[in-house]
Amino acid sequence: MIDLKNVERSYKTGHTETWVLRRINLTIKEGEFVTIMGPSGAGKSSLLNVLALLDDSWTGEYWFGSTPVHSLNRKQRADLARQRIGMVFQSYHLLDDLTVAENIDLPLSYKNLPSKDRGGMVADILDRFQIVAKKDLFPNQLSGGQQQLVGIARAVVHAPSLLLADEPTGNLHSTQAREIMDLFVELNKAGTTIVQVTHSEENARYSKRIIELRDGWMTRDEAPQPLPSEVGAQ
């Protein structure tokens, strides 16, 4: 589904060039659940921004299915992202002056869908995420976990084939975090390819593959290790 070949990204400050991604070669198959880990400043979020098509200033090749993203212009990339990618943020990034239902409707409103269809899709997702009762509330009336639930609902309402999550549980209590990770597993089982960035080993174990970055280089790419307690149980 995703193929990165020699992707590099750097920032120029004065005469100095700081590299945040170095020669990234990465293939993510459809239906995978991938975790990107690494210390702060390793380039995790930079890689996620490249995958999300939020960043244009990288070099190398990026294939999204059969689409050569590296050959697309800014508008074409935005169109591709709008159709195929959903994004979940650590700080939820819900719009404060919109209700839960309006926040979820936001990505649909940019897709030229009839408002009746949009209403139906929003109603379906509210029902699926069991937040129908919250639909008229504003984000500041919700707990952190509920806000992230709405953030995920907003990201998947248009049924993207790729869901990207940047520290989705970073601001949440561990119980809420587990609920969010269970939801990701459920979405992944339903066919959504997921790539998450996390610092948490526990959250990483929900995925099928862990990629580690250090100083912009990809240093590990393997299946998550089971906990010693899990090994003992087997």
């Binding site: 921004n49 939020l54 935005a78 994004m87 943020f89 990034h93 719009l95 940019y110 897709k111």
Partner: protein, 176 residues
């Protein structure tokens, strides 16, 4: 004061007038000879100065209003950077972001118009008695005022709208 009518160009008969006056009474001084146009011009100079002053103040008010609107929109755009970043990250075309700013400008302009139009109607009655040859509801003047206002509003909104459309979602979402 003496008024004379002539079919010839007025400046040509000035020596004749002086000569005739001298013949009537040599002690009479002929001073401040003017054509009728110059006389009318002289008598309305105060009103004209007042009109120039009013146009000057109106222009200044228009520029100040535009600068004020620019300030409000620029501040509001700055405050909405995160929202713009979120919208772009969720797939909003940049043209929709420009429309956000334009819509805000239209809202401000609408409120201003709702306050200004009744004031124009009310004040027009006060000025009716002081006008000659023009009405207080001159369609051309009102139309020109509306066009000028729209032009100034568009100029004031252009820069904030351009800034909003240039927001990079990656950076906007990082600034929190």
């Amino acid at each position: 004061m003496l008024y004379l009518r002539t079919a010839r160009p007025p400046e040509l008969i000035e020596p004749t007038i002086r000569q005739t006056m001298r013949q009537l009474d040599s002690t009479l001084v002929v001073d401040d000879l003017r054509t009728m146009e110059a006389q009318i011009d002289h008598s309305t100079s105060d009103e004209r100065a007042l009109a120039f002053l009013a146009v000057g103040f109106a222009s200044l008010a228009l520029v100040l209003a535009a600068v004020g609107l620019y300030g409000v929109l620029a501040y509001s755009t700055e405050q909405r950077t995160r929202e713009i970043g979120v919208r772009l990250a969720l797939g909003s075309p940049r043209s929709v972001i420009v429309l956000l700013v334009v819509r805000e400008m239209a809202l401000i302009a609408g409120i201003a118009a709702a306050l200004a139009l009744p004031a124009v109607v009310g004040l027009a009655r006060l000025f009716q008695s002081q006008l000659f040859g023009v009405t207080t509801f001159d369609p051309l003047t009102l139309f020109a005022a509306v066009v000028l206002t729209i032009l100034m509003l568009s100029i004031a909104a252009a820069l904030p709208a351009r800034r909003a459309a240039a927001v990079e979602p990656m950076q906007a979402l990082r600034t929190e």
